[in-house]
């Protein structure tokens, strides 16, 4: 990352002063207390993120269900742990625990393509270039970045928006560049400064979104026979 991002990594600092003088038993106690506190913080952050974005999630799910009903696919991208999360979300849509499987592809999965584009074109274009090749206007792109500033994710979302896709950004802290981008249909910001708590809440947001989309798809299947000629 080109910018100072130390503020995103505070997760262990709170433990330093309190336990340094203690003995081994105290350290074990500290670890247990720390794990509990972090788990509570994760659950609180997750619940607040979903509650804070209730209206955006409902509107976004409706837009996604419309596109998926018209043959739309889901593309996901992110870097590092967010790449893992992007793969998980694509797999959730593609191989769901219930409901309709939705065609979904993670843009981080093909190592040959990612390294080829990084080497030949530039790392900031590794996702956008893939999207430009694969995507159609009816599709959806979801980009994950804990800072909201990952250049290659922003470029993918911009390319998607320019090509007519529904562009969805997942960010953290105060949203970074994603929060002010004019090329996002929806930006979901997890209000936390911990990378890990942001990633956990982003996965929970994506899971919540997937559930809403499935509910809408089920309702659509029950009510109508879809007209395959209606794709955008």
């Amino acid at each position: 990352m080109a910018e100072p991002s130390g503020f995103l990594y505070p997760m262990t600092t709170a433990d330093d002063g309190a336990s340094r003088a203690g003995d081994m038993g105290d350290l074990l106690d500290d670890l247990a207390a720390s794990a509990t506190a972090k788990a509570v913080e994760s659950a609180t952050t997750t619940a607040a993120s979903i509650a804070d974005h209730e209206s955006e999630l409902a509107a976004l799910a409706a837009g996604m269900a419309d596109r998926i009903g018209a043959g739309g696919r889901v593309f996901t991208c992110g870097n590092g742990g967010s790449a893992t999360d992007a793969e998980g979300v694509a797999a959730l849509f593609r191989e769901p625990p219930r409901g309709r499987p939705v065609p979904a592809l993670s843009l981080v999965s093909d190592l040959a393509i990612v390294t080829a584009l990084a080497n030949d074109v530039g790392f900031e274009r590794v996702f956008a270039r893939q999207l430009r090749v694969h995507a159609r206007p009816v599709d959806i792109v979801m980009g994950f970045s804990t800072s909201g500033n990952s250049d290659n994710v922003l470029q993918a979302l911009r390319a998607g928006h320019d090509d007519g896709l529904l562009a969805v950004g997942f960010a953290g802290d105060r949203g970074g560049e994603m929060a002010v981008a004019d090329f996002l249909d929806t930006c979901l910001v997890v209000s936390s400064t911990s990378i890990h708590r942001i990633q956990e809440a982003q996965s929970a947001l994506a899971f919540d979104l997937w559930g809403r989309v499935q509910d809408l798809l089920e309702r659509e299947s029950a009510n109508t026979v879809h007209d395959p000629g209606g794709a955008a």
Binding site: M1, S5, G6, Y9, M11, T12, D15, D16, S19, R20, D23, M24, L27, L28, D30, L31, S34, A35, K38, A39, S42, T46, D85, G88, V89, A91, L92, P97, R98, I195, H196, Q199, E200, A201, Q202, S203, A204, A206, F207, D208
Partner: protein, 184 residues
């Protein structure tokens, strides 16, 4: 992460986890398993870890694996289809990393290894150990046993094949372990 100790960690390719893990791990490594308790390839990896000298932590949800397969189970009985994608399993490995960093920052006050209770002589106590066959010669085999490589006698059993798991007692192979049975 910026500002934190970089730890030697690698993702095991998942298309053939047994072969990949066998090549990657060395004595003293820790294997972190994330997945269903009855996934045959994960079960097969974990039953070999004593031979490789590897400590195992298995994170998952739903049906639990046989407790003997892993040194540590971090398990929830919640719906595995949900917790594996809604961030809660992610929380578990995040916590392991964060608490590991806390321990590393307290160098010199590391937690002591539990004392191995070797009051009983393993050889005299009829205790057999799991070993993985590396190579086979006439009447003997090179095996991985508790993380080291050693030669054992195979004259009491049918000649094993490389990668077979065998039970070793006092330098002698007593039996060859069956292939794991899926979905026990």
């Amino acid at each position: 992460m910026v500002g934190k100790a970089a730890l030697p960690a690698v993702v095991v390719p998942s298309d053939d986890p047994v072969d990949a893990t066998r090549s990657l791990v060395r004595d003293g490594d820790v294997l972190l398993v994330v997945g269903p308790g009855h996934e045959p390839s994960l079960v097969d990896v974990c039953r070999r870890t004593p031979a490789w000298g590897v400590e195992t932590i298995w994170i998952g949800a739903g049906d639990r694996p046989d407790a003997a397969l892993a040194d540590h189970l971090v398990w929830t009985d919640d719906d595995p289809a949900r917790v594996s994608v809604d961030g809660r399993l992610i929380l578990v490995y995040h916590l392991l990393w964060e608490l590991t960093q806390v321990c590393l920052e307290h160098a010199g006050r590391q937690l002591a290894e539990p004392e191995p209770s070797h009051d009983v002589c393993i050889t005299c106590a009829d205790e057999a150990l799991v070993a993985e066959v590396v190579d086979v010669t006439d009447g003997a085999a090179v095996v991985r046993l508790q993380g080291t490589t050693t030669t054992v006698d195979t004259t009491l059993v049918d000649t094993p094949r490389p990668h077979d798991l065998v039970l070793v007692h006092a330098g002698i192979v007593l039996s060859t372990l069956d292939e794991p049975v899926a979905a026990t």
